[in-house]
């Protein structure tokens, strides 16, 4: 029985929130939800009352009345104010999460690419700077290929330490993570349910996405835009680490990259994919 009522307790169904602005978005949902509940009971109540009270009975006659302009005006203006207020009220959250000039200074910057069907993430490596690639330089776009999705120019020194992970990434807790997202084929949507983040990624453009997690743990990244038969399996994992854990992981990666570079010295290869997982392999 309790389960049935749980269906109507909408707010209980949200996945856990780990994002700093997530609670605000959930609250906005709650505001509209409770407003809707009120309207629902109001309208349904009135309707039910009328239906019972004015149901056909011997001798009853309808009331010939064509309506009243003042009443009409009231129920035009009141909802207008209510709705417009609602729109403006929710707009600040929208601006905060999406307007590009509101994106905070990045503690961690990652490039993310969607592909059919998986995700790449690229980190700037030890120097904290990306080398020349399709993101930093538009003209490097022609370097993009299936083996070099980010279009990394392997002759650029700054890019030597950049590294790529596939279907997973890691971020530190309590830091502003700024993701630049794009795609190499069709539209995908970068959806972090627990982070209340969703943004379509479009081939040819680099979307600015940001979030800040306040809790460590393992979470999932999904694709929310139909992108072909494998759309459902376009899953990735991300781990939110403590600051020190993250630094440790980063150091580990950097030395891995160095090693890989040494081994393949001389050949001009794009950044190696140092870590991959196939959480959705089937």
């Amino acid at each position: 029985m309790g389960d049935i009522f749980k269906v109507f307790n909408m707010m209980a169904w949200f996945p856990e929130n780990v994002s700093t602005f997530g609670a605000e978005l959930d609250n906005l949902f709650g505001v509209i939800y409770y407003l809707s509940v009120v309207i629902f009971f109001l309208t349904f109540g009135i309707m039910g009352y009328f239906l019972i009270k004015y149901r056909h009975k011997e001798g009853r006659k309808g009331y010939n009345y064509h309506g009243n302009n003042i009443v009409e005006l009231t129920w035009t203006i009141l909802p207008t104010i209510l709705f417009a207020g609602l729109g403006l009220y929710t707009d600040s959250a929208w601006a905060e999460t999406k307007y590009s000039h509101k994106v905070p200074v990045a503690d961690v910057e990652i490039l993310v690419l969607g592909k059919q069907f998986g995700w790449y993430a690229m980190y700037p490596g030890a120097d904290g700077k990306f080398g020349r690639n399709a993101y930093t330089d538009r003209s490097a776009r022609h370097l993009m290929s299936t083996t070099n999705p980010f279009g990394i120019d392997s002759t650029d020194e700054a890019g030597m330490d950049d590294f790529v992970t596939e279907n997973q990434f890691k971020i530190p807790v309590n830091s502003n993570v700024v993701v630049r997202g794009s795609s190499i084929d069709v539209l995908h949507s970068f959806f972090l349910p627990h982070m209340r983040v969703k943004q379509d990624v479009i081939p040819g453009l680099w979307m600015k996405i940001w979030f800040n997690a306040f809790k460590t743990g393992n979470y999932e990244l999904a694709c929310a835009e139909l992108c072909g038969g494998g759309h459902y399996s376009m899953r990735a994992e991300y781990e939110i680490l403590s600051k020190s854990g993250y630094d440790k992981w980063l150091d580990q990666k950097n030395s891995d990259v160095k090693q890989l570079r040494m081994m393949s010295a001389g050949t001009t290869e794009p950044a190696p994919i140092v870590e991959e997982s196939h959480p959705a392999s089937h």
């Binding site: 590009s100 630049r180 453009l205 680099w206 600015k208």
Partner: protein, 104 residues
Amino acid sequence: MGHDHGNVIPSYMKVFYTLCTLTVLTVVAAKSLHFPASWGTPGDILHVSIGVIIAVIKVIAVMYIFMHLKFDHPFLRFLVYVPAFLFVVLTFALNFLESWDYIH
């Protein structure tokens, strides 16, 4: 028919001459007015607006005289103004499309 406005041939000819003149004018304007490349987008907008304004004048002439919009039922004007407005809305919004935020 129904609405006979006497001899309309002179006004038809007037429209015809106007159209011819304006056509020549567009070509001359487009070919001679080269705003320096350094003007960038504003120069382009200026250039295009000249063409658009001339085209709109031509279209109004055709619609109102050749197509008798001037003399006909107001509903027909509704059928012209509304699409024209929607066209403006559509292109205006579309031009926000390539959001400068995301170009890189």
